[in-house]
Symmetry: D2
Subunit: 332 residues, 4 copies
């Protein structure tokens, strides 16, 4: 069995977690790393025993030994390396949100449509087994016609002071639930209304509440609070309900499935997305990248997430942000 | 100790539950009943051993033996009997929503301000011990400044086909959460946006999603689904979160505090609002009416709920319904 | 309506809570207090505005103005005041456990059988609406034949360093679940096996695990941990499952029905047993004492808990403690 | 990368699930199948496209192309094929319980100690991310000294009428929790007391309650009910608490993390152990077998579960069954 030789472009905290997850996947070889910060590059090269180190992704992409890349740059710096990688014939795993504008998403989708390599956007929640199970039930018609959805995705304030200068909670996190709702319903968002609350005076507000109308008539609310108080006992308070005419699905992940109380207090750590267990990064991120590895190895286009779907999620989330800024309902 | 002699005006399903609760309160005497339907009047007179039976509330109110009335008529028929009862010097317990227009609420508030008797509107959730505890914590400043609230109050479709021809889920149920949010924050609602979904073609839509902005900057979403599918395992799926700058409160009532599985399936019955236990109606309704009984007996104006507060909740809920009808944000 | 004039004998922390609850019940008048500690007597006399203060319960019982007493002395000092009060013709509310030996329970039961006043032992869990609802379902045959039960009743270590020098977790707390299991099944305990763990070297061990066999064939395990670690986020972790041949009941009380996060951490306070809400002591203790007040006022013997039932619970719990001491199964 | 060529011996319902899981692991090749039932062999050979089909495991083991075997025969038929496979130099994945006697476990352990291939017993719960996270916390000393443990592992009656003629709930299921408790504490079980309840008159009783004493002083209770009533809304009601001197871990898996309500009722399906998602068998079984695949490929002995640990779990569970049979405490 041939290993797929993959490089990671963008080595922030999440790029490093990508490296950890890739290192735990037998059919991947972590073959190269790329970031503009030379010290970081050297540090992670040592950590993962990777000798092909690049500060310029163009040089990386020129390397014919590389089969695939994972793009984990800032969300507003996704377009250029992704287009270049597709152009170079590489398979591309691109972190969400796909890009920072719908126009850029369009460029990427078009490039992917004709590229030699496959493109998959990292809507990781589709690899959470609870959501995947929910999708199966809904797709099988077991809850009837979807009428009403609601989601929560709230995270501690301690995690977000830097992130909130780069991206806000709606495009940064409600996009997960937006994507899931689109996946579950197969519908389109036709309007968005959102309200934000600013607590800390960072570039983006701390709280986003979003309401969508879908073209099948369904309504949805999405709660994203990025300033959960200091003593909040969970990594993520993550819930979703999908109510149909004949049934419903309710998901409550990471809390209170596990509760750990120590001298330092009570908390519910993540065991779903990228927990390190027995020294190995596992969870939905590992499963998502494994699926991508299988697609690369077998030459099969990814079907669990398509580029067009990732674009639709961004479009809706950007409309919600626009609504929050104007105070008006945004129509798509 | 003198018993307060109380009459119930309006004897639908909930008027009967009022009678049950009153019968279980030692300091009340259920002294008279009033409804326009003679057969119903006779039936409940027998059930409760009450001999003073009226089809006309004016006659009832002319009876000097009656100290207090509980008004449980349709929500759009609250105003006349309430004004008449206040005018007759009776204490009045008035079911929520206070009235069907803000103008009528204003009339009732004004009448109550100068009446001999006390007026209390039945915002029963304030007597749910979880919300009362939450209020104490928030009022003590323990969660800091309130930033974000969300609520759910979803009930089975089987309960609502008749109700939905009389009142919709926003004014009918989200008003509970509206009232609680106003109580918790001490703020005013300044705008409302809502979306509804119609499933069964009844007079009012089956689903309401509401978003409020408060004058302290907080945002809130309220979910009310009155068409939970047939096999839904709970009487009410009721949750509320109040997130502040320094803490939060989360409440999850009736589900899954108790789960009962029988040959007929799994369900979570109400043990909070008006459960019948050991043959006696108990819960928040009994506590609410007991509090009202104490106010009557001791001549103390009710402070847990004031008429002005009840009016504010209706005003916000009506604005949400208006928004759902127009598709525009409603400003208050 | 005549008020029942009641006195509290024993004014430790829980005697004071009894006073609080009695003060909130309109049909009770808190008429006298009794404790051997003169300073405590004076302090609580002032707090409750009670002028009839006794250091000797015999003098109290000689007062013909007193209709009823609540006995809240140490569990091994229940017998004498209870027998004396019954002998004096008073109604007696007696805290659980009924007494510290089965022989004493027998004496009390016999005295109660012929006394003028009524005796009710404070098995408060029967007034928790969740357990009362469960009992109704089970008694109606809705879960079939009871096969297997399990319970948890764990409390913070911070509460117990003094209590553990007076009573252990099995007789002190598992007796609640013992009583409920007896109530639910209508069966007798025929054997008990228990294991304890000692953490802090107090008079009684910190942890008790008990297993019962009932004469209807059912098995049960009861977990009582009185040393939950410092950061434990709940007042009580209280659960019970009753599994029958055709259904089951599951109860999870106080946690996570309400969660409150503040600067000091996350916790789930009691809202079921004796929460103070709106300045008033409410909950199951208030309901239990109200029920006793009704029995006193109407001259009706209490049926929700009988003296013989209270004795059976003690007998089983003492057998479990004996088993823990000997390492052998104890047969009843 | 060389694929490990693995065969499955024993093709009951769980052997088939093994095949499904193996088929989803890129580094495994499902190379051969073995069962005594020729029709079943042919059926599964077709399903998985496997042409090497055996009714005699000796012939299978003589095939030098096979690197590893998974033994999924009845628990009392584990010893012979396992010893033969080890003798033949194969890697062996052996389903739990290791064997049906401690003596057989001893034989297998001794054989494994000198074998060329690696032996791993399928204590799958160690690959549930919640338990793995718990283990890390406990092993790091974060909850202090373990004092008290309790577990529940209850499954629907509909699943068990055949199984209960082959194995009972203590050795069949409490062994999972026994193994986890041994893993968490690093201690030994020194005594066991258990009670069973028979509902359906099958070979083994339907209900088992077990209490262990560990040599570090800890106590534990284990609940296993294999006759959860017809309308039970979950695949597994699975919980564990580990309470230490300085903290605790609580796990509640599969229920209510996901709830699905359809026309047929409410249920909580398994998303942890072997859910089929996107057409692929995933979950802890896939992760467990992947880990074994890695061990085979890299020649590394499995450390997450050792043969001696699997033997210790069986020894304790058999002692509990003995106690249930004799009514006496069993000492190890």
């Amino acid at each position: 069995m041939e290993k797929t030789r993959i490089a990671v472009i963008g080595l922030g905290w999440f790029g490093e977690i990508h490296c950890d997850a890739i290192a735990a996947i037998p059919s991947f070889e972590l073959a190269a790393l790329c970031t503009r910060t030379a010290t970081r590059l050297e540090e992670l090269g040592k950590k993962y025993g990777v000798s092909q180190l690049y500060t310029d992704y163009h040089e990386l992409l020129a390397n014919p030994d590389i089969d695939a890349v994972s793009v984990v740059t800032m969300w507003d710096q996704h377009t250029a390396p992704t287009l270049a990688a597709l152009d170079a014939g590489k398979h591309v795993f691109l972190e969400k949100p796909m890009a920072h504008t719908v126009a850029d998403c369009r460029l990427i989708c078009d490039a992917a449509a004709t590229a030699k390599g496959h493109l998959m956007v990292g809507h990781i929640r589709r690899f959470n087994p609870r959501y995947a199970m929910a999708r199966q039930e809904i797709a099988a018609g077991n809850i009837g016609k979807v009428l009403s959805m609601s989601s929560r995705r709230n995270i501690p304030a301690a995690w977000t002071p830097e992130i909130l200068n780069k991206i806000g909670p709606i495009v940064g996190d409600a996009i997960h639930d937006t994507d899931l709702m689109l996946w579950f319903t197969g519908a389109r968002v036709i309007s968005a209304y959102a309200q934000t609350v600013d607590l800390r005076g960072l570039k983006y507000p701390d709280v986003g509440h979003t309401m969508y109308r879908f073209d099948n008539g369904a309504t949805a609310t999405l709660e994203t609070v990025w300033c959960m108080p200091e003593k909040t006992p969970f990594d993520i308070d993550e819930r979703m309900s999908v109510i149909g005419s004949e049934g419903f699905v309710h998901i409550q992940d990471t809390f209170p499935n596990i509760g750990i109380c120590t001298k330092d207090g009570f908390r519910s750590p993540d065991t779903t997305y990228w927990p390190t267990l027995n020294g190995v990064t596992t969870g939905a991120l590992r499963d998502e990248l494994s699926y991508f590895a299988d697609c690369c190895r077998t030459g099969t286009p990814p079907t669990i997430i398509t580029p067009e779907e990732a674009m639709a999620a961004l479009e809706a989330a950007l409309a919600a942000e626009e609504s929050a800024a104007t105070g008006q309902v945004a129509h798509l």
